[in-house]
């Protein structure tokens, strides 16, 4: 089987590897998460009840407000954050939060990234190359 490498437009942060948690749904730390428990808490979110801690979180687009820009670092500081954030389309808040938290982020892939990676697959995130590789 050929290598599965997906190319994004831009990245922030350092190279990491981990287990993917994937859904075609959107992301806001304030709107969607119980950050104390480390789970998705918005009842109509496709990952409702799932733990995102230590996962490579792969979702569609950034939604919601501005709080995520602070919250990512707060989550990472408590070891309760995702390991990386992969989006079809980030917004400034995700980029600002990733930069502040030094949390790896890549967006704008040449495919719908949520449709080609399955939850549970191990992936390598290389923000410098803006690429995502299935291991």
């Amino acid at each position: 089987m050929s290598e599965r490498i997906y190319q994004g437009m831009a990245g922030i942060g350092d190279l990491v590897e981990g287990e993917a948690l994937v859904a075609f749904d959107n992301f806001s730390a304030r709107y969607d998460l119980d950050r104390i428990k480390g789970t998705f808490s918005r009842p109509d979110h496709k990952l409702f009840g799932e733990s995102y801690v230590g996962k490579i979180l792969i979702l569609n687009i950034a939604k919601g407000g501005v709080a995520t820009a602070w919250m990512l670092r707060e989550m990472v500081d408590r070891d309760m954050g995702p390991k990386a954030l992969i989006l079809n389309a980030a917004n400034p808040i995700m980029a600002q939060g990733a930069a502040f938290a030094n949390l790896p982020l890549i967006d704008r892939f040449d495919v719908d990234i949520t449709s080609v990676i399955k939850s549970g697959e191990r992936v390598a995130v290389d923000p410098a190359k803006a690429s995502l590789k299935v291991l």
């Binding site: 831009a10 709107y31 979110h45 687009i61 407000g65 602070w70 670092r73 500081d77 930069a99």
Partner: protein
């Protein structure tokens, strides 16, 4: 990114670690979005409630506040978004002393940087309204979309770390809504009805927001005959920005960059999506619960203007709230002061309500105060608030201010056909 000599010096640390942080943050974000250079900003609006900051954020702020003054003072006027603790009310709301202490530390750090603690998300109504073409770093989705759309000013969503970087350096990366090409319309909607009240204006904003497919979308709305009021377009924009996470709309014939359709579309406009009265009603109904249980009514998100506070006061005239239902109204310190002076605060509190100053419901540890007070079923006339609180463990319901007040008096949801 191309940086000026001054910006290069700040990045190299020549003006201390605070301004070095600012340029590092600017460069990382600007590079991610392909910014060519920086743009100077004239105002900063900074969101940094203690729930979002957490201990990590406050420790970071304190590391800046400990620096010498010449290294850490903000370089452009910088005001704050609502905070998380109203020290006059936090014990009544069963917030903890730990929350209050984190808040005190954050405020002390900001004051050391020269930040003006306005604690409001309606700064465009109450502090310093922006001007068309003015470049800003606004850090609340509601204030950003109002500044871009209603005033024709220019800002991206600047979350706290980047708003702070703009404050410390006086600039932000030039990308997104600072540029003409990102301010063109991408989707077209026609309102076939005029929303009847603030909650319906929010519902219409929510419908459009839900249709947004990324931050870069710019909805254009036709069919609004005659200008909305400041509070109506505030609710509309706040809901649109909350549901859509987009910072600009054009309302043809109303907002300054959209005198007509051809001004906002480069070629033929896209297919129009109609928004009918029953679409608005369906959005509202989607939040209607199966039973009439009610715990709390919250008026916030955005904070209430003086006019909204007066309306609430009038609705409560001669009424007493049911003992089992809490009613909270959040406004800015400036408006709270005016309400105190005009007897509006006393009127609301005599009826059993609580007027909150400098905070907003969803920014004040909503999950924790909900659990501490046994609040689950919540009514509000803010579509934005209703959108946010589902993830905080509430069962939120959208209704008019009149219906919210009547329900709070009766002690159960009324007028919703339940």
């Amino acid at each position: 990114m191309k940086l000026s000599d001054h910006e290069q010096a700040m990045l190299a640390g020549a003006e201390g670690p605070a301004r070095q942080y600012a340029l590092e943050q600017i460069q990382r974000v600007g590079t991610f979005f392909g910014a060519q250079d920086c743009v100077e900003v004239s105002q900063v609006h900074l969101m940094a409630d203690p729930e979002s900051l957490g201990e990590a954020g406050v420790v970071f702020l304190e590391s800046l506040s400990d620096l010498p003054k010449e290294q850490n003072r903000v370089r452009v006027p910088t005001v704050t978004d609502p905070r998380g603790v109203d020290f006059e009310a936090y014990k009544r709301l069963k917030q903890t002393d730990q929350m209050a202490e984190l808040e005190r530390r954050a405020i002390a750090a900001f004051e050391a940087l020269g930040v003006m603690m306005t604690d409001t998300c309606i700064n465009y109504q109450t502090i310093l309204p922006p001007v068309k073409g003015e470049h800003l770093a606004f850090g609340d989705t509601g204030s950003s979309i109002y500044a871009n759309s209603v005033f024709g000013a220019r800002t991206n969503f600047e979350g706290g770390p980047s708003a702070l970087a703009a404050a410390l350096s006086g600039r932000t990366p030039r990308y997104g809504f600072h540029l003409d090409e990102h301010r063109r319309g991408t989707k077209l909607f026609e309102a076939t009805c005029r929303p009847k009240g603030l909650s319906d204006w929010g519902a219409m904003g929510a419908i459009i927001g839900k249709a947004m497919e990324s931050y870069w979308e710019v909805p254009v709305i036709t069919g609004i005959d005659g200008a909305p009021t400041s509070d109506e377009i505030k609710q509309f924009g706040a809901a649109l920005a909350s549901f859509g996470s987009t910072p600009l709309f054009h309302m043809v014939g109303v907002t300054p960059e959209a005198p007509d359709l051809k001004s906002v579309f480069d070629s033929s406009p896209p297919k129009v999506v109609e928004i009918r009265e029953n679409d608005v009603a369906a959005l509202v109904k989607s939040y209607t619960p199966d039973d009439d249980m009610l715990h709390v009514v919250a008026f916030a998100a955005p904070q209430l203007s003086l006019v909204e506070m007066r309306t609430l006061s009038d609705l409560l005239e001669g009424r007493k709230l049911h003992e089992k239902v809490a009613l909270l109204a959040a406004t800015s310190p400036e408006i709270k002061s005016a309400c105190d002076r005009m007897g509006i605060t006393a009127h609301i509190e005599d009826a059993g309500g609580i007027v909150l100053s400098g905070v907003c419901f969803y920014q004040m540890y909503a999950r924790e105060i909900g659990e501490a007070n046994g609040w689950k079923r919540l009514m509000s006339n803010s579509a934005k608030l209703v959108n946010i609180l589902g993830g905080y463990g509430y069962e939120p319901m959208l209704a008019s201010m009149e219906q919210c007040v009547e329900s709070a008096v009766q002690g159960r949801i009324t007028g919703a056909g339940i």
